[in-house]
């Protein structure tokens, strides 16, 4: 018993099977997390090695190079880059996508074990560190405070950060902009000198006094008691009364030589939200956790946390990545719903029967819902890719069901009982339905095998589509016949209202049929003209390609802008702060779209995981701007970012600025054209970088140019004379630590209060470390207790520390990246390439285009190979179905016109050729040949029934016009919501929708004319060849009959 026969005989079982799958699917859906993109496994491993005291070039020669040479042998490595800066080397290994990062990490570790013994003695063991997108904060909370400012860190740490860190999935919670409490012991060097004291003595005295010592247990009578000495200070003021020595018989207290201040740490990052000082809380997720779930949990927890805070402390949200994800997904979900409505309307329009429409419509939800089960099983998420798959599939899943339903209706109209009609009608078309579904598989299955970054994205799409199409095939062979047998009746009478409504549509469709058959009639009689016309159209459309730019991924308007502004190195934080507050005031006035504007300025504390990872310093200001939702503002994110850049030109104080709109380039952020300058000579490469920067600035569409190499930082160095040091019984380490303890301070001990610990730092008071003389007058003590001034054993000189040395693929490199605004990446890369060609490069320096453009070219190549593979696969499927090589060849002619359609559509909408529009083009291969299959199949049938070629083409064409138009319009209309959607994230899938709509429309119109014409030509030559063959064999036969007697006689005589 076949599938459809069983389904028709057991309607309850069939229905319940599908309902069961649907329930399971909906259950899966309810448990699916939401995310922006499928989980992209990280492909980067970092190796950090520190070598205290080594300069950037020492690090490069002694650490980075040997490490690079060894690590370069790890397999599947794509690029190896290194940053050699003072004291540390950082090597970043970038691997090809799609390999198990754990295996790669082990490989890296093995290689490191080999090299460790060769590294310099002072270098520490290299640390392996896996980089992933999880490091990017998912949420930033702002904290505004007035009176509680002084104790903000403790308040936030106890009441906000710790509770938030307990939420499952939250990785780390860092507090920025709230300085920590610190007990400072500010010494007066003159008094220390007078009393023969040093910072070190005071520091060790504090450590010795501030202690609790357990004394053991002892017995008194029947009892055992514990003995303790409790010396820890209960109040920071008690430090003042510490005895630090005696002088001439009198006791010297700490208060005599220093002042104790219970205050906030000296150098801390300050954070301002909308101009008001406060703190910032940064939430990072654990690897693999879901951003939206965490953000929801954090938002839920906020009101309760707010209650525990003092009334002047206000929590707010600066940035929440889940907002963008949720909005994007809901926009896409809307387009899916719209697509379903459109498709159902098309089906009703063509079939004109509501029962038929319901039967077809039922296939959509069942097929779509089943794919959620796949997502749940494989641990997938609802994301752009999986929802796009649903959106694309809607128009396709109904195709098979329509074919089945149409044939069943035919049988019913011929007088068969619905049950019998359902079984036999399905049986007749089952093979061709399976074959046409195979062509769709041929398109989407190879998608699951793409490599690289695009492969990660398209793997899910490929599987989703295969599963959806498979379920739709099963539904059309089981659910549709069953529903037909239950619901379809021979229509004996139509209501008057329905007739009034539908008869104009019917008349129109009839007129269309009639017009098409007349046009086809004249076309097949002017075959050459049609072919030449189509070829000309194809060539003209190719001209559009010259005006279409290319890029990797479209820029997505996420409403988040971040900016890093740098004052000249060494600028005091107060100055930077002032500039930042002026810029903030200006921006808030100029851009009312800004909802939250937060900036941080100053040196970040080492405890702050997030801030210490990003660039920071007293001269650096980091801005985070959140704009209002996309549909609530007129200006786009990039327009505002461009405006901000223009504003910054008016601030000559700024040495450098970088504005990033929408996150990283490549995946939805503003795209950048990166040019890599390779060359050993730093000065020469710097010059080339500067020239390139100046020239690129003139290129249209370039709004900002950044050079990766930092500036030389000015610093003071103390050059000790080793001989003099030795004469005084000192060495460099001792002398260096004396300097450090006086300026940076030595942490003497911890002050404990309410379970929290605060550092007690001993150093010179701020007023005694403001000039070079102060440094020169610092007293160094040798083991004999003799004092020597710094200026006696060395001198303080100003020097420039070289910047970080960057290397890529074992060569020194500087990257010049141009940020683009509203121009295709290809234009700027082309212009840049031309500039480079004109540039007179010194020997040993080469310039290469890299970054996003490199990714783009790789993806385009992958996709082109894929397209070729798909064309071959589709041809094989068709050839197998038709058992012929000619007909598939004829049908293949619809593919070039799909290309024309895509190009024309992109040209008129001004959309670039990117990965998404290429994906649309690739899908078209399967969709457009489907039309040809439907057409040729029926023409063949007519010929088998005995019609002449031209007659068969015209009758076949006329009878297949509606099915072709119907399946095409379901797909096109299913895509329209994608193409016209304006909501959040729409930039991402608009190219896909536009490409499919353009390609499919043009290709279908031309397929309906060109394919029948070509069929006539090929079938005509086929017939002529057959006739010639026949005539030849007839001649041969006649010859044989004539000379039969001779030939047989010869044989006999031979025997």
């Amino acid at each position: 018993m076949s599938l459809y026969e069983g389904a028709v005989k057991k309607p309850i079982m069939t229905m319940l099977c599908f309902v069961g799958v649907a329930i399971f699917g909906l259950y899966s859906l309810s448990r699916l997390p939401i995310d922006l993109l499928p989980d992209i496994e990280s492909n980067m491993i970092m190796v950090m090695t520190s070598y205290p005291g080594a300069s950037a070039s020492d690090i490069e020669n002694n650490l980075s190079r040997p490490l690079e040479n060894t690590l370069n042998t790890v397999s599947n490595l794509k690029h190896i880059t290194s940053n050699s800066s003072e004291n540390s080397s950082l090597i970043i290994l970038e691997f090809e996508y799609g390999y198990d990062i754990d295996v790669l990490t082990n490989d890296v570790r093995d290689k490191l074990d080999m090299i460790t013994s060769v590294l310099p003695d002072g270098a520490q063991t290299p640390i392996i560190f896996k980089f992933s997108t999880d490091m990017i904060p998912i949420m930033m909370l702002s904290v505004q405070a007035q009176e509680s400012q002084a104790a903000l860190y403790k308040i936030l740490d106890d009441n906000v950060a710790n509770p938030l860190a307990r939420i499952s999935g939250v990785g780390s919670v860092s507090i920025a902009g709230a300085p920590q409490r610190e007990i400072d012991v500010y010494c007066d060097p003159n008094k220390l000198e007078a009393y023969n004291l040093t910072v070190e003595t005071i520091s060790s005295l504090i450590a010795a006094e501030n202690q609790n010592i357990p004394g053991g247990n002892f017995d008194i009578g029947n009892e055992t008691y514990a003995l303790r000495v409790e010396g820890e200070y209960a109040d920071s003021r008690q430090l003042n009364n510490l005895v630090v020595g005696t002088y001439n018989g009198a006791i010297v207290y700490l208060r005599d030589v220093a002042r104790v201040e219970d205050r906030l740490e000296e150098r801390a990052q300050e954070s301002y939200t909308n101009g008001v000082r406060g703190g910032m809380i940064v939430v990072q997720k654990q690897s693999g956790a879901n951003s939206v779930q965490i953000a929801n949990a954090v938002r839920e927890a906020l009101p309760a946390l707010q209650k525990n805070l003092p009334p002047d402390v206000q929590l707010g949200v600066i940035m929440d990545t889940s907002d963008n994800i949720k909005l994007t997904i809901s926009t896409l979900a809307e387009t899916v719903i719209l697509a379903i409505v459109f498709v159902i309307m098309v089906v009703f329009f063509f079939l004109g029967r509501w029962r038929a429409t319901v039967i077809i419509g039922l296939v959509i939800p069942f097929s779509l819902i089943a794919s959620f089960i796949y997502l749940a099983i494989t641990g997938g998420t609802i994301n752009i890719i999986s929802l796009s798959a649903l959106s694309i599939a809607i128009g396709m899943v109904v195709d098979d069901a329509i074919v089945v339903l149409e044939n069943v209706t035919n049988h019913i109209e011929r007088g068969a009982d619905p049950k019998q009609a359902a079984v036999h009608g399905t049986n007749e078309v089952a093979v061709s339905v399976i074959a046409s579904t195979m062509t769709i598989f041929a398109v989407f299955f190879p998608l699951t095998m793409v490599s690289g970054m695009t492969g990660v994205l398209f793997k899910q799409l490929g599987w989703m589509m295969c599963i959806i199409i498979f379920i739709s095939l099963v539904s059309s062979l089981a659910l549709t016949p069953m529903m037909c047998s239950q619901m379809l009746r021979l229509q004996k009478k139509q209501t008057r209202g329905f007739q009034a409504f539908y008869s104009p549509i019917r008349k129109m469709l009839d007129a269309l049929d009639h017009w098409y058959s007349r046009m086809l009639n004249s076309a097949v009689r002017h075959r050459l003209a049609v072919v030449i016309g189509c070829a000309a159209f194809f060539l003209i459309s190719l001209l559009c390609a010259r005006y279409i730019g290319t890029e990797f991924f479209p820029t997505q308007d996420s409403g988040n802008i971040s900016a890093t502004l740098e004052m000249p190195i060494g600028t005091r934080m107060e100055i930077s702060k002032d500039v930042a507050s002026r810029i903030t005031a200006q921006w808030r006035k100029e851009y009312p779209e800004i909802q939250v504007l937060n900036y941080r300025v100053g040196q970040a504390d080492a405890d702050n995981v997030f801030a210490s990872m990003s660039e920071n310093g007293p001269h650096i200001m980091t801005f985070q701007v959140r704009l209002s939702d996309k549909d609530e503002r007129k200006r786009s994110m990039t327009e505002i970012a461009d405006g901000m850049r223009a504003d910054l030109v008016a601030y000559p104080e700024l040495a450098k600025y970088q504005i990033t709109a929408g996150g990283n380039a490549g995946m939805g952020g503003q795209s950048t054209a990166d040019f890599e300058i390779y060359g050993y000579d730093m000065a020469a490469t710097d010059t080339v970088a500067q020239v390139l920067k100046r020239e690129l600035a003139a290129v249209k569409g370039v709004t900002e140019i950044n050079i990766s190499r930092g500036d030389y930082a000015p610093e003071y160095q103390v050059d000790f004379d080793r001989e003099k040091l030795a004469l005084h019984g000192l060495n460099l380490a001792t002398a260096g630590s004396y300097l450090r303890n006086r300026i940076n301070g030595s942490t003497a001990s911890q002050y404990r209060e309410d379970g929290d610990e605060y550092d007690i730092k001993v150093r010179y008071a701020p007023e005694f470390r403001t000039s070079l003389e102060d440094i020169e007058n610092i007293l160094l003590y040798n083991a004999l207790g003799e004092s020597i001034r710094v200026k006696e054993v060395g001198q303080v000189v100003e020097r420039f520390a070289p910047p970080t040395i960057e290397r890529k693929d074992r060569e020194r490199i500087v990257t010049v990246s141009a940020v683009l605004s509203d121009v295709p990446l290809s234009d700027v890369v082309e212009a840049g390439q031309k500039l480079i060609d004109d540039l007179d490069l010194p020997a040993g320096i080469s310039v290469q285009v890299a970054g996003t453009y490199e990714d783009q070219m790789e993806s385009f190549q992958d996709l082109a190979t894929l397209a070729l593979l798909i064309v071959v696969l589709v041809f094989i499927v068709m050839a197998a179905e038709f058992e012929s090589l000619t007909y598939p060849f004829v049908i293949m002619f619809s593919i070039p016109f799909a290309v024309s359609g895509v190009l024309i559509a992109l040209f008129f909408t001004g959309i670039t050729l990117n990965v998404m529009s290429l994906l649309g083009g690739i899908m078209l291969i399967g969709i457009v040949v489907k039309n040809g299959i439907v057409l040729i199949d029926f023409v063949n049938l007519c010929r088998e029934r005995g019609q002449s070629v031209i007659n068969a083409v015209i009758t076949g064409g006329k009878s297949r016009l509606r099915p072709v138009l119907m399946t095409t319009s379901t797909t096109v209309l299913g895509m329209i919501p994608l193409a016209i959607s304006q909501g959040q994230g729409a930039e991402m899938w608009r190219p896909l929708g536009v490409a499919v709509i353009g390609g499919l429309t043009i290709s279908t119109v031309l397929t309906l004319i060109l394919v029948p014409v070509l069929y006539c030509m090929f079938a005509g030559t086929g017939i002529k060849r057959q006739r010639r063959k026949l005539a030849k064999s007839r001649e041969l036969n006649a010859y044989y009959q004539e000379h039969k007697t001779e030939m047989t006689k010869q044989k006999i005589t031979r025997v």
Partner: protein, 97 residues
């Protein structure tokens, strides 16, 4: 005793079985898939790509008296849905065991 060979489009099967039951004709032999075409207008039933539909055939041996009513019913059935195609042929039965 006469034999009636009924050839018909597969879709008729259940209705013909019902007719035979109603007429108390218990015995019959059924071929599920047979091919054929009509002499004048009948559409071919080949189960091929061009002519996908198939015929079935039933032969039943009935009393002479039942033949006219049965043929009458079958004829009416054919008239109602001519496109499907139904034919019946009657032979004499010489002997049975």
């Amino acid at each position: 005793m006469k034999s009636i060979l009924i050839t018909f489009d597969q879709a008729y099967y259940e209705r013909i079985l019902a007719v035979l039951d109603r007429q108390n004709c218990r015995g019959f032999t059924h071929w599920e898939q047979v091919q054929g075409r009509g002499s004048k207008t009948g559409e071919p039933h080949y189960g091929s790509h061009a002519w996908p539909s198939m015929n079935s055939a039933i032969i039943t041996i009935v009393d002479d008296a039942k033949v006219p009513t049965l043929l009458d019913i079958l004829h009416r059935m054919d008239k109602e849905t001519e496109q499907l195609g139904l034919r019946a042929f009657v032979w004499n039965i010489e002997q049975t065991v």
